[in-house]
Each structure stands twice: as structure tokens, then as C-alpha cells.
């Protein structure tokens, strides 16, 4: 499979601050790759380097087979992007802003403007000045500008920012359509794991400028820890029964028993049967998945002490 984005030991230093360091990643054509990190982790700096807006102080980036250089016109004819908050010329209407974007991509037919307005649900606002748009609609306009010329690669920085739930679903569907239907590639950044886990085939986790982990969606699901929680009326006797059966349980402050062993998590009905036969029927049984946010914080090493 062809490579859409490749970086090699990419780095950016601003004086004493190392914004991005030793970033090597590879995104294949046709995939949705999510770049996940907390605010200030280096996501936007990386995206700006990929787009030739800032010059790396180390390493290199290649986009659609072209080594990225500042001021170059390649390979941008096949790339659409949106960096940070969307901005538009406020004195122009939505349609006029898209006309400006069309002229920034010579060869894009005039009808593309009308098509993208329809596709992104901007028809009602097409002749309205962009200064009066809500944040959500401004975000749609930003995406419309990025997708206007039907790019092979979309680079999007926090694309769901400011969108309402319906807008998020629409954007997700659009991006899936672009990749599955048209073979396009999407590289998006986000700080919300729940958002990207439904969309991305692969996830790269960046923290303090360094790429901590890369994993596919299945691994992401697999690595989220799960725990088995149960409540019984007689806590200590029940805990002893479980321990004797090889299922060590810890008692939480509220009296809930927590089991983390794989057998218990995968066969909760066995635990139920064991306790019923011992005369301590559970009043509540639940297998809980680690919340995505906690999983993410655990991955970046902030899960333990974030409450301190």
C-alpha cells in the first residue's frame, strides 16, 4: 500500500522548548489515522510541519511522495487541510469564501462550490457573511474549504471542535465516505479518544512532543482495562469464597467488590453461580470498561497522579 504521510525523526525546537521530538510515523493511503494528544502535546506543530508552514529543526516529512518544503506548491493540489480554529474572510459570504478557496486550487470546476455547499449542509447560509456564522457552521465552512477540490489526503486539526452531536456524526460519515468510498486518506488530530476511536483505523499517541504509542483500533479496544464489580449483602464471606476459588477481590470504599482477573471478567456467569451456590447471591454484577479518557491518561502516564 502506498504511503500518504511519512515522517522521519521529525523535530521542532523553539529556543529551549522542544515542541516535537524524533517523530517517525507512517500513514498509508486509504486509512484514517488519528493523532491523539493533550493540548500542547505537539499535534498542531506536527501538522504545521506536515503542511510546510513551519520548518522542522530536525528530520523530514514526506506527503504524497513529495518531501515537504516551505513555500513549495507541491503536493498541495491533492491535499486539503484545516488547522486549529477555522477562519474565513468575514466580509465575504460563505459562497465567496469558497470561491476564494477554489481559486487557490486552480483547475477546480466552478460547480464544486455548489456541490460542497450542499454536501456540508451550508445551503441555508451560502449567501450569508461568514462573520455572522455560528462556530459550528464556521467549522463546516472550514471543512468545506478543505474538501472543495476533492483532495486525496485530508489533514484536519481537531475537526469536531465546536460541532453539535449531529454535526460530529455528519463529519464522521463524510470522512468515512472519503476513505472507504473514494480511497482517500485522513490524518486528523484530536484530544478526545472517544471521538477518534469510532473513526480511526490507527491511532498515534503523542505526549510532550514525542510519539508514545501507535496502535490499531482493535489493539486500542483490547488494551483498555476492564474490571468486574459486584455487590453482595455479606461482603467479607463472599470475598473469602471468591478468593478460595482463585478470584482475588478487593473491597472498595463503598463495599463493592472488584475483580480484575481475566477469568472473572470473561465469565461473569461463573462468578454468579459460585456466589449463589455459596449462599451469597450478588445484588449487582457489572463488567466495566475503563473509560477512554482514563485509558488515555494511563497511556500518557498521567492516570495515577492526576487527582493529586
Amino acid at each position: 500500500m502506498k504511503t500518504a504521510i511519512e515522517t522521519e525523526s521529525l523535530g521542532k525546537r523553539y529556543g529551549e522548548i522542544q515542541a516535537v521530538e524524533g517523530l517517525s510515523l507512517r500513514v498509508s493511503e486509504g486509512e484514517i489515522y488519528a493523532f491523539l494528544g493533550l493540548n500542547g502535546a505537539g499535534k498542531t506543530t506536527t501538522i504545521r510541519m506536515l503542511l510546510g508552514m513551519i520548518k522542522p529543526t530536525a528530520g523530514s516529512a514526506t506527503v504524497l511522495g513529495t518531501r515537504v518544503r516551505m513555500g513549495s506548491v507541491k503536493p498541495w493540489a491533492a491535499v486539503g487541510y484545516m488547522v486549529e480554529d477555522p477562519h474565513a474572510y468575514e466580509e465575504l459570504t460563505v459562497r465567496e469564501n469558497l470561491e476564494v478557496a477554489r481559486r487557490l486550487h486552480p483547475g477546480t470546476p466552478g460547480k464544486a462550490v455548489g456541490e460542497i455547499i450542499e454536501r456540508l449542509g451550508l445551503a441555508a447560509y451560502a449567501d450569508r457573511r461568514t462573520g455572522t456564522l455560528s462556530h459550528g457552521n464556521a467549522q463546516r465552512l472550514g471543512l468545506a474549504k478543505a474538501m472543495l477540490h476533492k483532495p486525496r489526503l485530508l489533514i484536519l486539526d481537531e475537526p469536531a471542535n465546536g460541532l453539535d452531536p449531529m454535526g460530529i456524526v455528519e463529519i464522521r460519515e463524510l470522512l468515512l465516505e472519503l476513505t472507504a468510498g473514494q480511497g482517500g486518506t485522513v490524518f486528523l488530530s484530536s484530544h478526545i479518544l472517544a471521538e477518534v476511536s469510532r473513526l480511526a483505523g490507527r491511532v498515534g499517541i503523542i505526549h510532550q512532543g514525542r510519539l508514545l504509542r501507535e496502535m490499531d483500533a482493535a489493539t486500542l479496544e483490547r488494551e483498555r482495562s476492564r474490571r468486574f464489580l459486584l455487590n453482595v449483602r455479606e461482603i467479607e464471606p463472599a470475598r473469602k469464597v471468591l478468593l478460595a476459588a482463585g478470584h482475588p477481590a478487593t473491597r472498595q470504599m463503598d463495599g463493592t467488590l472488584e475483580l480484575q482477573d481475566k477469568d472473572a471478567i470473561e465469565k461473569p456467569e461463573e462468578i454468579n453461580r459460585l456466589l449463589v451456590e455459596a449462599g451469597f447471591p450478588p445484588t449487582r454484577l457489572v463488567v466495566e470498561e475503563e473509560p477512554l479518557e482514563e485509558f488515555f491518561l494511563r497511556l500518557v502516564g498521567m492516570g495515577e497522579n492526576r487527582h493529586e
Binding site: 506543530t45 504545521r48 503542511l51 510546510g52 508552514m53 513551519i54 520548518k55 516551505m70 513555500g71 506548491v73 507541491k74 498541495w76 493540489a77 491535499v79 487541510y81 488547522v83 486549529e84 480554529d85 477562519h87 474565513a88 474572510y89 468575514e90 466580509e91 465575504l92 465567496e96 470561491e99 476564494v100 478557496a101 481559486r103 487557490l104 486550487h105 486552480p106 474549504k145
Partner: protein, 259 residues
């Protein structure tokens, strides 16, 4: 459609929609109207007496503007000072707004050369300067005609008009470096601050005798037309304009755009 024509469409559309050319044109009408008012007051002693201080000022202005030749001299100085300020505002807006409005990032990773984007902006500024000159020129001549100034022979009007156009061209050239200040300063503050500094320095340079070599003094000296400028002076202005354009291009090509 060539990329330059596309960029020209975009730049002119943005400018027209913003109404900035309209506001600066209206602003440029102020000085011809003010001068004409003062001349009118000076020529009508009764009005002059009633207005007191304004009448005294009007007499001073009228002293130097009683015929077409003197009036055009005064008028050229207005072009040098007034158009400079209006063009600094215009160029600061054309370049600086891309940074303050955050639209610069939409111009950077596109299949259009940055030089085409910049050239379109500079062409817009040239057209804008032409518009302002035309407005000042037309309004000034209209005022002169309404006041029925004497001495309006063809050679005097042509010579005066030529000087107005030349002063406007030199003023436009010395404004070009403000594109760099607006870009490097990522907004309006730096170019406006530098404009104030340039006006102060220009006056100082004239006082200490360096006016003929200080780029921002040269249009003012040409407008005053007290004595012929050295041959090098126009070249200094041309080089200043070219350096301003080259600096802007280099900055757009090489500087990190991290905002």
C-alpha cells in the same frame, strides 16, 4: 484561468467587500475640501472675520494658494502626506488582516505560488494608490475650478499635474516596505507604529539636510519643489520599494507561520 488572475479576483473581491477603498477614498477627500474651505474663507473677509482663528489660518493658506500654481504646490504636499497615511492603512489591512483574522494559514499549503499571492496584493495596492490619487486629483481640480483660481494656463496645469502623479508614485513606493512590517508584525500595530516613526524621521532628515537621501522625505521634498532633487533620490525611493517587496516575499517564503 491563470493563478495570478485567480488571486487578483480574490484580493479585489476582499477589498471591495470590506469597503476599505471606499472609506480611504472618502478620507482622501478631506484635505482638498479643507484647503478649498480655507481658501473660500480667506477670499470672503466677512466670513473670515466671523470665524476668528480659522480665518487667520485661512489667510495663511490663501497666501500660498491664490493662483493655480501655488494651489497645485499645496495640493501636491497634501498628496505626499495624506496619501502616505491612507496607503499605510491600506497596505496594513491588505497584509496584516491575513494574520489578525487567522486566514494566512489558508494561503500557505496551496498549489498557488506564494509569489502570485503577494503579487496580487501588491497590484491591489497599486490600484488602490491610483484610486486615491485620482480621487484627490479630481476633487482638488474641482475645488480649484469652483474657487475660480487665476493663472490656470495649460503648461502650469500640466506641470502641476505631473508633479502630483510623480509624488503619488514615489509615495506608493515608500509605502511598500509596510507590507513587510504588517507581515513580520502579524497585524496592524507594527506598520502603523513604523509609519509614525517614518514621518518623524522624515521631518528630522529634512531639518538636518539628509532629506534627499532619506526615502520617506523624498516625496515630501518633491512636493515642496523648492529645488530640484538629486538624480539619486528617485532611485533611493525605487530601491526602497523593491527592498520592501523582496523582504515581504522572503518573509512569506522562509518565516515559520506558527499562528
Amino acid at each position: 484561468m491563470s493563478e495570478l488572475s485567480g488571486m487578483l479576483w480574490a484580493e479585489f473581491r476582499k477589498a471591495i467587500r470590506s469597503r476599505m477603498p471606499l472609506w480611504t477614498s472618502l478620507g482622501s477627500l478631506f484635505l482638498p475640501i479643507a484647503i478649498a474651505f480655507l481658501l473660500f474663507v480667506a477670499r470672503n473677509p466677512e466670513v473670515s472675520r466671523k470665524l476668528g482663528l480659522v480665518g487667520a489660518k485661512a489667510n495663511l493658506v490663501a497666501y500660498s494658494g491664490t493662483d493655480w500654481e501655488a494651489y497645485l504646490g499645496l495640493f501636491t504636499q497634501m498628496v505626499a502626506a495624506g496619501e502616505f497615511i491612507l496607503l499605510v492603512l491600506s497596505i496594513s489591512w491588505v497584509f496584516g488582516r491575513e494574520f489578525t483574522d487567522g486566514t494566512i494559514k489558508d494561503l500557505l499549503a496551496v498549489p498557488v505560488r506564494r509569489s502570485s499571492i503577494l503579487l496580487a496584493k501588491f497590484i491591489l495596492i497599486a490600484a488602490w494608490a491610483g484610486l486615491l490619487t485620482l480621487v484627490i486629483f479630481a476633487s482638488g481640480f474641482l475645488m480649484g475650478a469652483l474657487l475660480q483660481l487665476p493663472g490656470g494656463s495649460v503648461p502650469i496645469l500640466l506641470e502641476g499635474s505631473g508633479r502630483v502623479v510623480l509624488t503619488a508614485c514615489l509615495t506608493t513606493l515608500v509605502v511598500l516596505p509596510y507590507a513587510f512590517f504588517a507581515s513580520a508584525g502579524r497585524g496592524y500595530l507594527l506598520p502603523l507604529g513604523m509609519a509614525v516613526l517614518a514621518l518623524m524621521m522624515a521631518n528630522l532628515a529634512v531639518v538636518i539636510g539628509w532629506g534627499e537621501i532619506f526615502p520617506w522625505s523624498i516625496p515630501l521634498l518633491l512636493a515642496q519643489a523648492k529645488e530640484p532633487l538629486p538624480q539619486a533620490s528617485p532611485w533611493i525611493v525605487i530601491i526602497t520599494g523593491l527592498v520592501g517587496m523582496a523582504g515581504t516575499w522572503l518573509w512569506w517564503m522562509k518565516a515559520d507561520q506558527s499562528r
